[in-house]
Every structure is written in structure tokens, then in C-alpha cells.
Symmetry: C2
Subunit: 447 residues, 2 copies
Amino acid sequence: MAEGERAEELLDLVETNDLTGIRLWLAEHRPYEIADELSRMAEGQATIPFRLLDKDRELEVFEELDPAQQQSILLGLRDHAFQELLEEMDPDDRARLLGEVPAKIATRALAGLSPSERRMTAALLGYPENSVGRYMTPETVILHRDLTVSRALEVVRAKGADVENIYTLPVVSDGRRMVGTVALGDLVISEADRLLKDVVDVFAPRVRAYESVESAARLMQEANLVALSVVDSEERFVGMLTFDDALEVIEAADTEDMARQSGASPVSDHYVSVSVLRLVGARAVWLMVLLVAATLTVNVMQAYEATLEQVTALALFVPMLIGTGGNVGAQSATAIVRALAVGEVRVRDLPRVLWKESRVGFMLGLTLAVLALGIGSFLVGTTIASVVACTVIAICTWAAVIGSAMPLLANKVGVDPAVVSSPMVATLVDATGLIIYFSIARMILGI
Amino acid sequence: MAEGERAEELLDLVETNDLTGIRLWLAEHRPYEIADELSRMAEGQATIPFRLLDKDRELEVFEELDPAQQQSILLGLRDHAFQELLEEMDPDDRARLLGEVPAKIATRALAGLSPSERRMTAALLGYPENSVGRYMTPETVILHRDLTVSRALEVVRAKGADVENIYTLPVVSDGRRMVGTVALGDLVISEADRLLKDVVDVFAPRVRAYESVESAARLMQEANLVALSVVDSEERFVGMLTFDDALEVIEAADTEDMARQSGASPVSDHYVSVSVLRLVGARAVWLMVLLVAATLTVNVMQAYEATLEQVTALALFVPMLIGTGGNVGAQSATAIVRALAVGEVRVRDLPRVLWKESRVGFMLGLTLAVLALGIGSFLVGTTIASVVACTVIAICTWAAVIGSAMPLLANKVGVDPAVVSSPMVATLVDATGLIIYFSIARMILGI
């Protein structure tokens, strides 16, 4: 926490415009710590400390920032400094940044780049957003399969200084056709006169540049890869996806899933630097949809108004019952959404999952019914309590089935299962749960 | 998805006991794909395909499995095969496995190890669960700062073949005191006669073995590290935390957070292989607590029973209002829990967060109130509708404050903020929201 203590100071220093203090603070912190603090600042505030950075650390800090933050810093720089920074960025980071800025700025920025950097960036920008192509780095040391180990190491020595990743090196045959990869560590350890084709790992996974970057990142996680080869449709090597980009993709995807789970659109910026209006915008739409959907519950209550007037005590348990149904549904939905995201459950598991969840729901219902019977009997007598207890069993089973079926069905029709949020499941279970409740009440009470 | 298609077959092959088919399937798949399929099997089922694996792939597949799955496979093996497998595992994986099996098995297993492996494992087992010490690998190539680059490469060549990670190498002074790290890539590129002390990155972050492995993993993610040095309290090098273990830790932590967010205890195994009873166990406790807490809503409803009898129409909107409050609270809680987990928000941000969320809640309330006024006027007339609309504004503001304050307060008193689940926030907001509703109703209706 000592880090947190001192980190907070940068904002104070910026707010009091203490330039000497800022310089000192910057000198004492690591690039990613500096980037972390800059991310927490409001628009415009980050430019001052950024300009005070040493030239050689500027780039390192800049590359750690989100594209939105990068953009706001770039706009605060003079044209010359702007172009210089852009020229030095890794091509994949640059492509992602330019993909998000207004087209006019992007065109001007591209025009200012050196020809080779421009070519690389334009190529990456040709791939769709969220594809592997946008995130891979084309700069790497490519080795031909006919090289010897010692010759390959010479190539690495000659070309390796400028590239982002040389942990895992692509090995190709003629025409850049992918053969496999070799780890730098294996090159170092192997005998000098062996041929690369005898050392290369031909089973190393590879992905196409047009594939989803999230699935590629999850593959790297499953297969414990530092870097993943990317090929075009003719199996020619085009770039490497590195673990730091994969980690970022996974973190962003998980954050998005969590936001969606609570019925909010994901906001990609740091929480602290996001404006109130953007937060409202991200959350309002689903809330409005859910409120309109909740009109159903009003309709159901109206339909049973006569029953309610006869036995007012029934109204007392409405919040508890729909709350419990919502909770059980949310648990099932969350479990299935996550299991789908990390690949533990597949769409074809639907029948198996439903059978499992309905049993889980029924047993949870039985457990809770005992509790509800006790509480109900104490508060309003055994008759109403037994209505409540029976309803609990039915609602829990129903909620578990609905909660687990919805994400799987969403996935089946090609919708991201994470949009099946807990609030959505809860709202659906609320209305149907009330029908179950009043039907059981009428049956048991004979009205 | 073609992978998924064929993957499913292994289970079918195992169920029909088709040994030839299993052998073929295994030969065609990569270790992590095989591990993924084994994880989806019920207890005991995985032993058959595992025994059919080639000896040299056995270990690779085994290390990809969860400790629980590893345990069930180990118990299915004969004593000899059991010890052989254990001897070959990485020390950190072995320590994690032995930390979870019954003490009797662990002791017997430890006794069967070779002295050097036993020493390493016992050392790791000495660190607390969930500490960096349990996850780090002690096997690495340690370089002295006075070596030249070429001499260092010779050391890597001599000792590097047996160790898990040689991407990032620790550089130490006398007495194993940590100086910094050097990337293998930098060693390869640097001139042969330079001294390590001129090449070493002395700013490379390091952590203590007793620290939480989750924060260490998040640090690696932030700083884009392939490996993180671990030191003891006297700054002596003791091991390396590698990115694959860090990734696993982060994935598990995120899965746990998501489960907790929905009010369920985390279940560490694959969803498909977990029994119904374990799922019930993981979910029942919180549901019971929440059901008892929901008794509060029954009490509140009882307290206002007279009001309800006078104006039955008020009851119609109870589900909609508490649903909306729960949704707003869940959004805020989820946003803050995630922001805390990835380090975007700190405990000291509490006042700032509350101020922001109360404005967000108020504006969401205003938006939803307009909708509610329309729906209510149409269904039951403007008087009740205006009660509902005013309540929506109040409840949304209140829910956003409660939802954001609870995780921060939990963190402040040292409780994992992720236990502040959406259902918990919803239940709290339900009861208080009803009081708000009936108070406003009495005021406006003059009863």
C-alpha cells in the first residue's frame, strides 16, 4: 500500500502545479506506475506530467495507456512531438490508436509516418476491429527452416534489437509459409550445427489474422504461450500475437462480461476518469428496457388484484419470493456465462446443463422452503406459510432452468451470452414467479 | 468449432470403452486440448485415457489439469506410476497438488521423492496458501552479476535444459542477494564481453514470497512481465513467478469474483464435472442468509399493511420498484468491485466514488421516473403514478450509493469486496426501498 500512498501524490502535485515535485515523482516511479496514475486523471490533466517525462521513457509510458488516454495526450502535444511519438510506437499499438481517433487525424498522422512504418500500420488497419490482425505485431525476426542454429542466433543478434518480441520465433519455408515456432531458449540450448527444421515445434498452434482476438487470447492462456503465430488464409506468416496484448484483451473481455452481467454497457476507460454522463449512458438503456419489461409484473399483480384484496397477507411475501427467484436465477446465469467464456461448457451441452440446473434448483428450493415455512408460520400462520414454501420450491427450480437456458440459447443464436444479465433473468423470473405464486395460493386456499 | 466437434468424441470413446479410438484421438490432439477434455469428465473416467497416453506426453497433460483432477487421476494409478509422475512435475505444481490432497497421501508422496525434489517441494509447502511462495518455481538459472554476457550464456546452455523458465533470468550478488533481472533476449543481443551488472535491469519489480499471489499476478499483468522475481525478507532470490501461473491465478480470481458477485461460493472445478450436490452447497448458504434477510421486507410490508389495505393499487408496483432498485444497486456494486480488483479505484477514493455514484443514480432515477410516470398513469392514474415516479428517483439514488459504498467499506475492513454480491445489495435495497415507497405514498396521498 506504500505505493498507493505515494501514487496519490501525483494528482495533488498536478493540481497544485508543482513542476519540481512532478519531476521528482516521475523519476522515482516505473513506467507502468506512471501510466496507472495518468489513467486516473481527468481529460487534459495528464498532459503536463507527460511532457515532463524524459524523452526515452515517454514512449514506454505512452504504450501502457488506453487508446482513449493516448488520444487525449496526443492532442495536447505540439505537431512535432506528436509525430515523433507516433513513429516510435509499436505498429500494433499504433494501429489500435489510429483505429479509434477521428478519420481526419488518423489520415494526417499516417501521412507523417516513415514509409515502412506507414505500410505496416496500414496493413494492420485493414483487419477488422477485434480481430487478431489488429493486435498482432508484424515486427519480428523470421527464420528460414534451412538455417542452422548458430546462423539463426546470428540473425536474431542482427535484427532482434528493434523488435517487440523474440521469445518465440516463427520458422518458415519458402514464400513465408509457416512451419512452426522455436523458442529463443531452445535456440540457445541446442547444438550450434543442428538445422532449424529439426528443432522447430511444428505442433505450435497458429491462428488466422481475421479470427477473433479474444478466442486467440484464450487459446494462448490455455496453451501457456508467450506468443502465438498469426497466418493468412494461405498459411503465410503475417505476425505474432504477444502475451501482453493477450492479457489486455482477456482483462478487457472479463471487465465487459462483468459489466454486461449487471445490465450495463461496458465502459472501456478507467472508472475514476469516466464522466458521470458516460456512466449514466452506459447504464440507462438496459434499466429502461427492464423497467418496461417489469410492467409485466404490474399486469400480473393487477390480474390477481381480487385475490390480493381477499388475502392481503399474500402481498407481504411478494418481495421475498421474487427476490429469491431472482437470486437463484442470477447464480445459474452467472455460472453458465462464465463457463461458456472460459470454454468449460459448450452450446451442445444444453440438455445436460438444464438437467443439472433443474436438480440444483429443486434442491435449493427444498432447503429454502424449510426456512420459509418456519419464518412464515411465525409471522402469519401455517396456511399462508405453506403457500409460500411450495412457491419457493417451484420458483427456485424454474429460476435455475431459465437462468441457465438463456445464456446457452443466446450463444446458439449468435448473441454474446454475457448480455443475458442477472437483472434480465430476474425480471423474467419476477413476472412468471408471481403467476406461480398466485396459482399455488388459489389452489391451497381454495379461492 | 471443428475442435469442439472432435473433442466431444473422446467422452463417447471412453464411454464405449473404444481403446483403439482413444489412442488415435490422443495422438491427434495437443496436450492442452487433451487436458481440457479430461477436465470435462466425471471422477474416475479420466484415468483410462490418461493411462493410454505416451509416457513423454503424460506429464505435459497432467500439468495442465486442476489439482482436484490431478488428485483423482493419481489415485487411479499404481504406486509406481504415481511416484514417477510426481517426481517429474514442476516443484510449484507439485506443491499445489500436495497442498490439497489429504495429509496422509501427501506425506507418503513426499517420502517417495528424490532428496532434491523433496527439499524444494517442502520449502514451497512452507508458504501459506495463496501466497506467491506456493506458485513460484525455485528451479531457474541464477546468474552472478560479475559474469560476462558470454559466460552467462554458457551457464544458461549448461543448466537451462531442465528448468521451466529461462525467458527472464535473475541476477544476484554474493549470498543470492537480488540485483535485478536480465531477459534472455537481451543476453543474446548484447556484446559478449560486457558484464552482467551493466546489462541487468535493476528496476525490474520483485515481490516477497509471503505476499498475495493475486496481487503479484496483477502486477505482472500491469507491467507486462513474463516472469517476476521472488525474494525473501532479506532480499535474497528464492524463485520466479511465471506468466502461465499468473494467468491461471487471474483467471481463477476473476471466476471467483463472478461467482461471488452472484452470491455463490466459487467452485474451482470444471462446471461439467462438478456434482449437483457441490453446486447446491456452493449456492445454498448465501441464499439462506438472503432469505432470512428478506424477512425484513415482510416486516416492512406488515408495518404498512393498513396503507396497503386502503390503497391496494400500491401493491401492484412493489415488484417493479424493488426490481429497479436492485438493478441500479447491482450495476454500481459490479462496477466498483471490478474497479477495485483491477486497481482502478482505491479505498481512499470512497468520497469521490460516492459523490459520483449519487449523481449517476439521481440522473438514472430521473430518466426512469419519466418512463414510470407514463406507464403508471396509463395503468392506474396519475396520483399513484406520481408516487411511483418520485419513489423511482429516491430509490435509484439510494441504491447507487449503497451499491458503491458497500464494496469499498468491505475492502476498508479487510473483507474481499467481491463478497458484496448483487443479491446482497438488492436485498438491502429492497427493504429500505419499501420504506421509502410507503413514506412517499403516505405523504402524497395524505394517509
